[in-house]
C-alpha cells in the first residue's frame, strides 16, 4: 500500500484544442514524491480536434457523447475521481486561466484548516489578472447575495478553481448544477454543513477560446444564478 496522496485535476474541455495540451502538461508537472497528480480531461463533446489531441496526451480522457455544459462535465470528473479512490479532486478551467502550481498548497491549506473545500481566490491579495470592472461588479453582487443568505463572506464566489475532499465529491456526485455552477455550489456546501475557505491565487487572462458569459448572456447568467442560489438555499 502506497501512502502517496492521489489528486485528480478535473479539466472540463469544450473546443480547447489550442490550450488543452499545455494545461495537461502543467498539471503533470505538479506531481512530486508525495503527491500523484492525475489530469482528468472531460471532453464535453467538442466540435474541434480536442478529442484527438487528448487521446495522445498523458491524461485520463473522459469523452462525453453529448454536450452537457460545464457543470455536467465537472461532475463527470468528480464521479471518476470518487470511483477511482482519489483523495482529492481539483477543478480548474480548460482555457489555462488557472495556475497549477498552487495545487499542493491548496491541499495543505485544506488539511491545516480542516476544510472540506478550498477555493482559489483572486481577490484576497488582488494579484494577477483581476478581470474587468463589469465582471468585478457582478462578483460583488454575488458576494453580497451569498453573505445575505449564508452569512459567510466569499471574496471570489465565481472562482472555478477548487480543491475538494472525498466527502465533498460524494455530495457533488449526487447533484451538481449544469450551468454556471460555481456560486450555486457554495450554497450546496453551506447547506450540507461542509467547511470551506479561500486562499489567494494568481490567475491569468484566458489563453484561448471565449467566455460563455458576455452580452445578453450576462443578464441571463445573473438571473439564472440568483434564482439557483435562492432555490438551492430553500431546497436543502
Amino acid at each position: 500500500m502506497s501512502t502517496r496522496v492521489k489528486i485528480a485535476v478535473i479539466i472540463p474541455a469544450y473546443n480547447e484544442q489550442e490550450s488543452i495540451a499545455a494545461v495537461v502538461a502543467n498539471v503533470n508537472s505538479v506531481s512530486t514524491d508525495e503527491i500523484t497528480v492525475v489530469p482528468v480531461v472531460v471532453n464535453d463533446c467538442s466540435k474541434d480536434s480536442t478529442l484527438k489531441i487528448i487521446s495522445g496526451l498523458n491524461c485520463i480522457a473522459l469523452n462525453l457523447p453529448i454536450n452537457l455544459g460545464i457543470g455536467g462535465a465537472v461532475q463527470t470528473g468528480i464521479k471518476y475521481a470518487f470511483n477511482n479512490d482519489f483523495d482529492y479532486a481539483v477543478q480548474i478551467d480548460g482555457d489555462g486561466q488557472h495556475p497549477t502550481g498552487p495545487i499542493p498548497m491548496l491541499m495543505e491549506e485544506l488539511r491545516k484548516n480542516n476544510w472540506d473545500v478550498v477555493i482559489g481566490s483572486r481577490f484576497i491579495k488582488n494579484e494577477g489578472f483581476q478581470s474587468t470592472i463589469m465582471r468585478r461588479s457582478g462578483i460583488k453582487y454575488f458576494q453580497w447575495l451569498l453573505k445575505l443568505i449564508t452569512g459567510e463572506t466569499v471574496t471570489d464566489p465565481t472562482s472555478g478553481m477548487r480543491l475538494m475532499n472525498r466527502k465533498t465529491m460524494e455530495l457533488l456526485y449526487a447533484y451538481y448544477p449544469d450551468e454556471y455552477p460555481e456560486p450555486e455550489a457554495l450554497i450546496i456546501y453551506n447547506r450540507n454543513g461542509l467547511k470551506f475557505g479561500e486562499v489567494p491565487v494568481q490567475m491569468v487572462e484566458r489563453q484561448g477560446g471565449q467566455s460563455s458569459i458576455q452580452g445578453f448572456g450576462t443578464i441571463y447568467y445573473m438571473f439564472k444564478v440568483t434564482i439557483a442560489i435562492i432555490f438551492t438555499f430553500l431546497r436543502n
Binding site: 469523452n63 462525453l64 464521479k79
Partner: protein, 116 residues
C-alpha cells in the same frame, strides 16, 4: 344547434378517441399521457350529445357568455399540461445527463482494459 354540426362533432370525437386508444395499443403513447387525452375526448363526446350542457355549466359558474367558459377552461388545462411536459423534460434531461456521464466513464474503463 344544427344537427349536422352535432353529427360532425360526435364523429370527430369518436374518431379521436379511437386514434388515442390505437396509439396506446401500439405502445406508442404511455398510459400516463393517454389518461388526459382520453379524459378530454370523453368531455368532447359528452358535450357533443348534451347540447345545452355548456350553457347549464356556464350558468352554474355565473359566466354570461358560455364560449368564454370554454376558452378559460381550455387555456387553463393547456397551461397545466404544458407545466406537466416541462416537468417531464426536466426529468428526462437529468436522466440523459446521468446516462451520458456513465457512458463516458465506461468508455474510459473499456479503453484501459483493452490497452492492457
Amino acid at each position: 344547434m344544427d344537427p349536422r354540426i352535432q353529427f360532425i362533432a360526435i364523429a370527430v370525437s369518436l374518431l379521436f378517441l379511437c386514434y388515442v386508444l390505437w396509439q396506446i395499443k401500439k405502445g406508442r403513447l404511455r398510459e400516463e399521457y393517454a389518461f388526459i387525452w382520453i379524459l378530454s375526448t370523453f368531455a368532447l363526446i359528452i358535450f357533443s350529445f348534451w347540447r345545452n350542457g355548456l350553457e347549464v355549466i356556464a350558468r352554474t359558474f355565473g359566466v354570461h357568455d358560455p364560449p368564454n367558459l370554454v376558452f378559460t377552461g381550455a387555456i387553463f388545462a393547456i397551461l397545466v399540461y404544458l407545466l406537466h411536459l416541462s416537468l417531464s423534460v426536466s426529468k428526462l434531461h437529468a436522466q440523459n445527463k446521468t446516462l451520458a456521464q456513465e457512458l463516458a466513464l465506461l468508455k474510459e474503463k473499456l479503453n484501459k482494459m483493452n490497452s492492457k
